[in-house]
């Protein structure tokens, strides 16, 4: 059993905007690219060109259909990776100390040198956010790009997780959720950011911004109706309106 730090100095994490995520998987593949080449063992792919291709990913996008009580069904794209929980059950379950939560920033990591690939952590994680790499035999998970966010070899603006840097729709935000004044904390406050499965008691650091209400235009018809008041009922009347309207244009009145 591995201990969690009593308190972390910062709570680094992601804020993911479900209102804006178009489900393009840019974050998924950028993550795959960066983390194949960087932290730890490469993210391998089995049966890469065969019947059951199955590789290791640290971030996946799931799509769910939602049927509201009234109105059309909706499709929600839901990117999911490690949520860097404050009470991370994947850490406390680890028999070797390989899984740990960093005291300075709260990032949950796997020390691959100490990982025996037993898979207990993946079993303990209620979010399915860990994947055992089949080639390396070690547990892989989102590192929040710990090798990018402090990396002095990168320009300062690039010191964000790879998924955040690449997201075309700007649906992914990175920052300190332990600091109420941070941009991400403000976003969470403004938009009603939510925990994923709070009932699990894991206290996830990552937050999701809910989709805004959809298909509401129809309810505004009373407000909008005056905009469509016909200028005239008959086509002839339209021409009369036209002449008057043209005279009202700048420089128009004869």
């Amino acid at each position: 059993m591995t201990e969690l730090p009593q308190l972390t100095d910062r709570k680094l994490g992601l804020v993911i905007d479900l209102d804006t995520c178009v489900g393009c998987h840019a974050c998924v593949i950028s993550c795959k690219g960066w983390n194949t080449e960087n932290y730890g063992a490469p993210l391998s792919d089995q049966d890469a060109y065969g019947a059951n291709p199955s590789g290791t990913f640290l971030n996946r996008v799931h799509s769910f259909e939602v049927q509201p009580d009234a109105g059309a069904a909706q499709l929600i794209h839901f990117p999911k990776s490690c949520l860097h929980c404050e009470d991370a059950p994947c850490v406390t379950v680890c028999p070797t100390g390989a899984s740990y939560k960093r005291a300075e920033d709260g990032i949950v990591l796997v020390n691959e040198d100490a990982c025996i690939g037993c898979g207990l952590c993946a079993w303990a994680c209620p979010y399915g956010a860990r994947e055992l790499d089949q080639a390396a035999g070690v547990m892989k998970k989102c590192t929040l790009c710990v090798d990018r966010i402090y990396n002095e070899n990168l320009p300062e603006e690039d010191r964000v997780p790879s998924c955040v840097r690449t997201c075309p729709a700007g649906a992914r935000h990175f920052g300190d959720l332990g600091d109420d004044t941070s941009e991400v904390s403000k976003l969470v406050a403004e938009r009603g950011g939510m925990d994923l499965m709070p009932e699990m008691g894991t206290k996830p650091v990552n937050k999701y911004l809910p989709p805004r209400p959809k298909d509401e235009l129809a309810s505004d018809i009373d407000v909008l109706a005056p905009f469509l008041k016909p200028v005239a009922e008959e086509p002839k009347g339209f021409m009369g309106w036209l002449d008057k309207a043209l005279d009202k244009l700048p420089g128009g009145a004869k």
Partner: protein
């Protein structure tokens, strides 16, 4: 026990070098940083790809395809060397040959064609980003038979836009993302274009602006739209004209804009005869308007004129009326009232009115002003720029119908009526657009043996006199582009080339030469039929299409059907230019172009296709490519990019011209130009002055800037064409006027469909009795416009393509997820796995296109799900409509442009089997032998240590 954290290096070296080039995982052309690391052999290898923050297109972001590029340059499906067919066509049996032998074979076929009858070569390029070059090659070869893939993609959108307002969406222009407050998408699946639309939607959503998605399928952009309109496919035009009806009726149109910048005030000849419906013009040919100040008949562009939208002009008892009168007559009529169209569109009248009202509210109540002076083409100075923050974007969903051209026109007319084009908050052109149809070339087709064609192949016709017809009235072109069947086919008709060549109609060809066009698979209608045409033999045992040359970088399905393969490189191994002469990467605020350069050298015996064309041209001694003494002007494509001049001082690349690289647009050849591009990140940008940033078609500051940049040779301000005179000229011919007359069987159709003002008509439903369900395809964002669906990473995202079936149809047909369903059209049937989808028009089914693969292609194993469960809807779509009993076969294309009407497909669906009762989708085609084998089982790709 206190846990000791391990030591961690949080500043590892990222790479040894960053090479900046242009992505080609789709057609979006983003800038990329290719991180290189040195491998154990001391070779620099691609380690990681990210977006280039400085690049005008993507500003640092990158989509899934772009990041997966590393799996494309190591793909096992890459072709390795030139191939000569040794087995029967379609068998996939080849032997590898040298480039010398390959070029000798090609020249041996092409030289006699050039000398005796250049039209015997049909040269069609598919996914081509170098059309100004491939077209130049074809022109100098002398064949009239050249086009790229626009005819089966989105020519309706391009031509509809250019004929109406001098540009269309995507490469032609973009919403004013920084100011728009209402963004409305029509028929935009998850594509066209890629990152800029996502960035734009992100931007406007962050501002709280509203997005309305009009699409039968609520996925992708439509999934995040605030309001989704699940329209019945093919009825967008009707919906748009209902919006026009309501907005006009309420006076929610921009009269000032219409009178100044459009042909709404232009007077139309009402006298019977050959000029009926054409514009009244002065002695200089300028369209005439009534000046509201003086009541005089005046040229539209006279300084001080106030064109009158209302006044008519009477001559000899005939009343000539302005275009705007005719529009009021047509669109105020009850046939366009929301109540009249609601059922056909599948949108309630109330909803149509609500959307119209919201458009009106935002366009007029949220209008704003920018403090920016500008001067229009009449010399009038304006103190401000008026913003109308409603913008539209549209693509293939409305385009790929047989009523698509008029629908695209209708959409442009809607935005013009609102006054939202080229104003703050609306739609903005990107250089070299705006560009009216008159500024484009007309099509050319005069063939001279051993000489060049008389001009560019593709262009814009302005009347029957511009059609590509021989003296006997038969088509000049193998694809029958620019004929009475589809007069305004500005992009050609690639989807008709193989069937016409096979039928010998209008004539037989000798060699079919194609580039990156998967015609024996997902790029053809009637896939099985096309395969048969490619392998069909005549009585003497010769193939009906005698010789086929094909170039591709990968082992696509088409490879097996060619006789000679000229293997292309991947996009990281080549030179390219994304040119202002072609399909540029400009932004609304800037002209921009870009290059690709070999960030890695090929490890195979392959060459960039464009360099291969240079080599062929040199061996053939083609004008434009060789000097008078027969020596080569260019050694390869890079040499051409730098040294070719289309006119003095204007070449493929606009940046870093002049001997010292200091000139932009126009300037002498700079031998170091490519190095300067590489130093600059692979691209070049020239910003448009602030006073030129809006109102571009009429803004003299923009017009003068465009001349300086070499985009045009003189200022060419013009009016938006709500009423299109070229269309009317074809109608006049169909009414019996003029020397060039359409064949009798086409008269009625031309009169109906080439209407000078947008109309909506239902597409031809002959033969569709009993087939009542609309069937569509789209490509997933991670594979849109991609030649990389075999990509090891991407296929894990989208390796399967069930047929998505709406809930109601699932219940009606007793279907459950995973069941096999038989899907039939008048043309054929397929049996495919189904999956329920609720967020879908209730009478529409759809699937991801181009996931399905032929066994043996793309270096996938035969049991890959793409080859077993994957399928194509193409088997259900014929290039011709079902017989009508008139002895003719009509093309499944738009009657104006010839655009392939993919989305007119109607099917019926029935349960075929439970999931376990069938192993594979049907039809099951036999495997083709792979020239490259299959890939490695497992991948653990890491370049650095």
């Amino acid at each position: 026990m206190t846990f000791q954290q391990p030591e961690l290096d949080t500043s590892p070296k990222v790479s040894d070098e960053i090479r900046k080039t242009t992505c080609y995982m789709c057609a979006c052309r983003c800038g990329i940083n290719v991180h290189m690391k040195t491998d154990e052999n001391g070779e620099k290898q691609v380690a990681y790809i990210e977006g280039n923050r400085d690049h005008p297109v993507n500003k640092g972001v990158l989509c899934a395809k772009g990041s997966a590029g590393i799996m494309q340059v190591n793909a096992p499906s890459r072709l390795r060397a030139p191939l000569k067919r040794v087995g029967p066509r379609g068998s996939g049996e080849f032997e590898e040959i040298s480039w010398d032998e390959a070029l000798d074979i090609a020249v041996g076929w092409l030289k006699p064609i050039r000398e005796t009858n250049p039209e015997k070569l049909a040269f069609f390029t598919g996914r081509d980003q170098s059309q100004s070059f491939t077209g130049f090659w074809a022109q100098n070869f002398g064949t009239p038979n050249f086009a790229a893939h626009g005819g089966f993609c989105s020519v309706n959108m391009a031509a509809g836009g250019i004929y109406t307002m001098g540009g269309a969406f995507w490469e032609f222009g973009q919403p004013d993302w920084d100011h728009t407050k209402l963004f409305m998408l029509f028929g935009v699946a998850e594509d066209h274009d890629s990152n800029p639309i996502k960035m734009g939607i992100g931007k406007i959503k962050a501002r709280g602006a509203r997005v309305i998605g009009v699409n039968p399928i609520r996925s992708g952009y439509n999934a995040v739209a605030d309001d989704w309109v699940g329209i019945t496919p093919g009825t967008d035009g009707l919906f748009i004209l209902a919006l026009v009806h309501v907005l006009m009726k309420a006076g929610k149109i921009d009269l000032d804009y219409l009178s100044r910048y459009t042909n709404a005030p232009v007077l139309v000849d009402a006298s019977d005869g050959p000029n009926k419906g054409l514009f009244l013009r002065d002695a200089d040919g300028k369209p005439l308007v009534k000046d509201r100040n003086t009541g005089e008949l005046t040229a539209f562009d006279k300084p001080g004129v106030r064109p009158d939208l209302s006044a008519t002009h009477e001559v000899d008892g005939v009343t000539h009326r302005p275009v705007f009168h005719m529009m009021a007559d047509r669109y105020l009529a009850d046939e366009y009232a929301p109540e009249a169209v609601a059922d056909r569109c599948g949108i309630s009248a109330k909803r149509i009115r609500t959307i119209a009202a919201e458009i009106a509210r935002v366009a007029f109540d949220e209008a704003f002003e920018l403090d920016q002076e500008w001067t229009d083409f009449r010399g009038e100075k304006h103190a401000k720029m008026i913003g109308r923050p409603v913008s539209f974007h549209s693509m293939r969903g409305v385009s790929a119908h047989a009523n698509g051209f008029q629908t695209c026109r209708a959409l442009h007319v809607l935005q013009i009526l609102l006054g939202t084009v080229e104003v703050p908050g609306g739609f903005r052109f990107k250089p070299p657009y705006p560009k009216p149809p008159e500024a484009h070339p007309k099509p050319h087709g005069k063939v001279t043996c051993n000489g060049p064609l008389d001009g560019p192949h593709l262009g814009f016709v302005h009347g029957p006199e511009d059609l590509m017809l021989k003296d006997d009235g038969s088509p000049i072109r193998i694809d029958k582009a620019f004929t009475w069947e589809n007069p305004m086919s500005s992009h050609g008709l690639m989807h008709m080339v193989i069937s016409n060549a096979h039928a010998g109609n209008p004539y037989k060809i000798d060699t079919l030469f194609m580039y990156m066009a998967n015609m024996s698979w997902n790029s053809s209608m009637n896939t099985r039929g096309v395969i048969d045409m490619l392998t069909d033999k005549d009585e003497s045992g010769e193939y009906k299409i005698p010789k086929i040359i094909y170039s591709d970088a990968y082992s696509s399905e088409m490879v097996a059907y060619a006789d000679l393969i000229l293997p292309d490189t991947t996009y990281l191994e080549r030179h390219d230019c994304i040119s202002l002469l072609d399909r540029p990467i400009c932004e609304a605020d800037a002209a921009a172009d870009a290059i690709r350069w070999p960030v890695i050298e090929p490890d195979r015996d392959v060459r960039g296709f464009q360099s291969t064309l240079v080599h062929l041209a040199n061996r053939l001694g083609m004008p434009g490519f060789v000097n008078e003494d027969g020596s080569a002007k260019y050694q390869d494509y890079a040499d051409y990019i730098v040294n070719h001049e289309r006119k003095p001082g204007v070449g493929p690349l606009a940046g870093f011209r002049g001997t010292d690289g200091s000139k932009a647009g126009r300037g002498e050849v700079n031998p170091d130009q490519l190095d300067r591009y590489i130093e600059n990140g692979g691209f070049f940008v020239s910003h448009i002055p602030d006073e030129a940033s809006y109102y571009k078609p009429w803004n003299m500051a923009y017009q003068n800037w465009a001349v300086e940049m070499g985009l045009c040779d003189a200022p060419t301000p013009y009016l938006f064409q709500l009423y299109s005179e070229p269309l009317r000229k074809f109608q006049l011919a169909a009414e019996g006027h003029g020397e060039r007359q359409p064949p009798e069987h086409l008269r009625a159709r031309i009169k109906e469909t080439l209407d000078p003002m947008p109309i909506w008509y239902d597409t031809d439903q002959t033969g569709n009795e009993g087939f009542t369900v609309n069937a569509l395809t789209q490509r997933p964002m991670a594979m849109y416009h991609s030649w990389g669906t075999q990509n090891a990473w991407l296929r894990q995202l989208h390796g399967r393509n069930p047929l998505y079936v709406p809930t109601k149809l699932m219940r009606e047909k007793g279907l459950s997820d995973g069941d096999w369903a038989k899907v039939s059209s008048p043309h054929g049937s397929i049996t495919v796995p189904v999956m329920e989808m609720a967020a879908l028009n209730e009478n529409t089914v759809w699937t991801w296109n181009a996931i399905g693969k032929r066994k043996g292609a793309w270096a996938l194993e035969h049991d890959a799900p793409e080859a077993t469960k994957g399928f194509l809807l193409n088997h259900l779509i014929h290039e011709l409509l079902p017989p009508k009993g008139d002895g003719l076969r009509w093309a499944n294309s738009d009657p104006v442009t010839g655009q392939a009407a993919w989305f007119d497909l109607k099917v019926k669906i029935e349960k075929a089997a439970a999931p376990a009762d069938l192993a594979e989708s049907q039809p099951e085609l036999p495997p083709i032998k792979s020239p490259v084998g299959t890939g490695p089982k497992d991948l653990t790709w890491k370049v650095g240590k």
